[in-house]
């Protein structure tokens, strides 16, 4: 019983992390129509950057700031100097980001080596909190809270601000937004930076409990892909539901069928595609 509770909490914290990664991914995919296959690499490098700053300064918060900022800057460069140069052919853009991912991963391997690295967690967040009859690690609680807070913040930006209205409009009809006199390039760059920063933050959060290693980028990317395929392009609610589904399946799959856990996220994806090729909340 207690074991099951802890497993559910674990699944929740993993889902929360996945949501932070996938929300950035789906934001960029939704508005820019760019499938950023370097998103996993941004996650990994964000984690490493956070690790470097946290170990150097001893401040976990500064680590977060560094992860978010450095990856936002990286995203800016990626969008401004590379993606905007490839004319609007979606496929070429996707393949370009794939090339970027290969370069970034290889460079990360050179700089930080092939061993799993972890981000030191401040004393305040170590240990467990008592929740009724069972204890749960504080840090994982923090991840769940972070997921919820980021969901709420994104929801607010999406539904209650001008930026959000523009993004939603851009997801539905890019040309129309442009015709209204909005500088869509600036909107694109902003969104790309925001989405990238989310990947960086997730890298920092995830790095402390899942560790950082070469290959973590690909794992996270596949989860994010599955979530966006399930949830639908550019949908925040889709990303949230997809994250919960994938997070729970991945977590319980690892307990029930450890060797085939990867296979299990494939199930709902296949089912969904048979009935809703654009995902739960996807629109053409």
């Amino acid at each position: 019983m207690i074991g099951t509770f802890i497993q559910i909490a674990n699944a929740l914290s993993f889902s929360a992390l996945l949501f932070i990664v996938a929300s950035g991914f789906t934001l960029i995919f939704g508005l820019l129509r760019v499938v950023n296959l370097a998103h996993g690499s941004l996650y990994l490098i964000g984690g490493y950057m956070g690790m470097v700053v946290t170990t150097a300064t001893g401040s976990f918060l500064l680590g977060f700031a560094a992860a978010a900022l450095s990856i936002a800057v990286l995203g800016y460069g990626l969008d401004r100097w590379l993606l905007s140069r490839v004319s609007d052919v979606e496929l070429n853009q996707v393949l370009l980001t794939l090339g970027v991912a290969m370069i970034l991963n290889d460079l990360a391997l050179v700089v930080w080596g092939g061993d799993a690295r972890s981000i030191p967690v401040p004393d305040m967040l170590r240990g467990a909190v008592r929740m009724g009859v069972f204890f749960y690690p504080k840090y994982r609680m923090l991840v769940i809270v972070a997921g919820v807070v980021i969901f709420a913040a994104l929801w607010f930006v999406y539904n209650r601000t001008k930026l959000g209205a523009l993004i939603r409009a851009g997801v539905d009809d890019r040309e129309m937004v442009q015709a209204m006199g909005i500088n869509i390039r600036r909107l694109f760059v902003l969104t790309f930076m925001l989405g990238s920063a989310l990947a960086g933050v997730a890298g920092m959060l995830g790095g402390a409990f899942l560790t950082l290693y070469p290959g973590a980028d690909a794992e996270i990317l596949v989860y994010a892909l599955a979530i966006v395929i399930i949830g639908g392009r550019g949908s925040l609610a889709g990303a949230a539901i997809g994250s919960l589904l994938v997070g729970f399946l991945a977590n319980f799959g690892q307990i029930w069928l450890p060797e085939l856990s990867y296979f299990i996220i494939f199930g709902p994806m296949a089912l969904l595609l048979a009935f809703r090729p654009l995902g739960l909340f996807g629109r053409a």
């Binding site: 853009q93 393949l95 370009l96 370069i103 596949v222 856990s261 595609l273």
Partner: protein, 316 residues
């Protein structure tokens, strides 16, 4: 017209003579490279069938290629079965995997197709990586011995050459068949083909499965060349590399795949003398290709030469 046809036949004969002469002219190392180029060329061609003729870019072919290799290796190493039988089962496995991928992916197109095939491919990679008892995880499966008659590298080279040539002939027949033409119709306009009464998803599924068969043949051939298989031969990097080969050679040209394959395999071997950063180089190559020559090296060369010719003779 006639002249260009004669030229093409001439080129084919020269290529054939060259390929047949490889074991007599070169040493063991270049010969291994030549064998690899042939095998990866076939692999890239299997991707080009979909990309160039059905307008669907797959990033899951590495998984199909690798699944064939794994099944073959598992049969030979763990079950101790006859290598010929293992080859057959390997190809069969690739057909099954491709049929599943195809059935799921045909409803999507464009970027979604790419995403879905990528995700499916990663699932296969994840399975090979974690299903330790069957796949040997990171270590892979080692000691996949060739059939007795093919042990000699020269013989194996000729065997690969014969198989690849046969496959290429089948692929050419296939893309020029009514079915292949209809696939091309789907690439041009899916809605038009649907209106004309073609069952588009079914045709794509069949096309995908067939393309997977060729990828599987390549996957089996490479296992017997390397004598082992590891998660690397299922990885996204492999799918990517195959796609890059097809793109470099020019999507839709088919035989360009062999040029792409030669460029990448040779580059990989040259680069590895100087640095271990092959992935960076490959990534750079990908980025540069997308920025400057998305139509491939041949297409780029042709466009450049045309521009140059125009400049030098403004009359014509």
């Amino acid at each position: 017209m006639n002249q260009s046809r004669a030229f093409r036949w001439g080129l084919l004969v020269v290529a054939a003579v060259f390929l047949l002469a490889v074991p007599h002219v070169f040493g063991e190392y270049p010969q291994t490279l030549a064998t690899e180029i042939l095998i990866y060329g076939l692999f890239a061609m299997s991707i080009d069938i979909l990309a160039g003729y059905a307008g669907r870019t797959s990033l899951g072919h590495g998984a199909i290629f690798g699944a064939a290799g794994y099944v073959t290796a598992y049969c030979v190493v763990t079950l101790g079965s006859d290598p010929w039988m293992a080859m057959l089962l390997g190809v069969l496995a690739s057909v099954v995997v491709a049929a599943i991928f195809g059935a799921l992916a045909v409803r999507t197109s464009g970027v979604y197709f790419l995403l879905l095939t990528l995700a499916l491919g990663m699932v296969v990679w994840g399975v090979t990586y974690r299903w330790t008892s069957v796949t040997g995880a990171e270590n892979g499966l080692r000691g996949v011995a060739r059939p007795d008659v093919l042990t000699d590298l020269d013989t194996y080279y000729y065997f690969v050459l014969a198989v690849v040539a046969a496959m290429v002939a089948i692929i050419y027949r296939f893309v020029h068949s009514p079915f292949g033409q209809a696939l091309q119709g789907i690439k041009e306009s899916e809605s038009r083909m649907r209106t004309l009464g073609y069952n588009v998803p079914l045709m794509l599924a069949v096309g995908f499965t067939l393309s997977g068969l060729f990828a599987g043949v390549a996957g089996v051939l490479i296992v017997f060349l390397n004598n082992f298989v590891s998660p690397n031969s299922v990885s996204l990097a492999l799918s990517t590399q195959g796609l890059l080969m097809a793109i470099l050679g020019g999507v839709g040209t088919l035989w360009g795949s062999f040029i792409g394959s030669a460029v990448i395999i040779l580059l990989q071997n040259v680069v590895s003398f100087y640095t271990e950063r092959w992935m960076t180089i490959l990534g750079l190559l990908f980025v540069l290709t997308m920025l400057f020559a998305p139509e491939g090296l041949l297409g780029k060369g042709r466009a450049l030469s045309r521009r140059w010719l125009k400049k030098s003779s403004p009359e014509s």
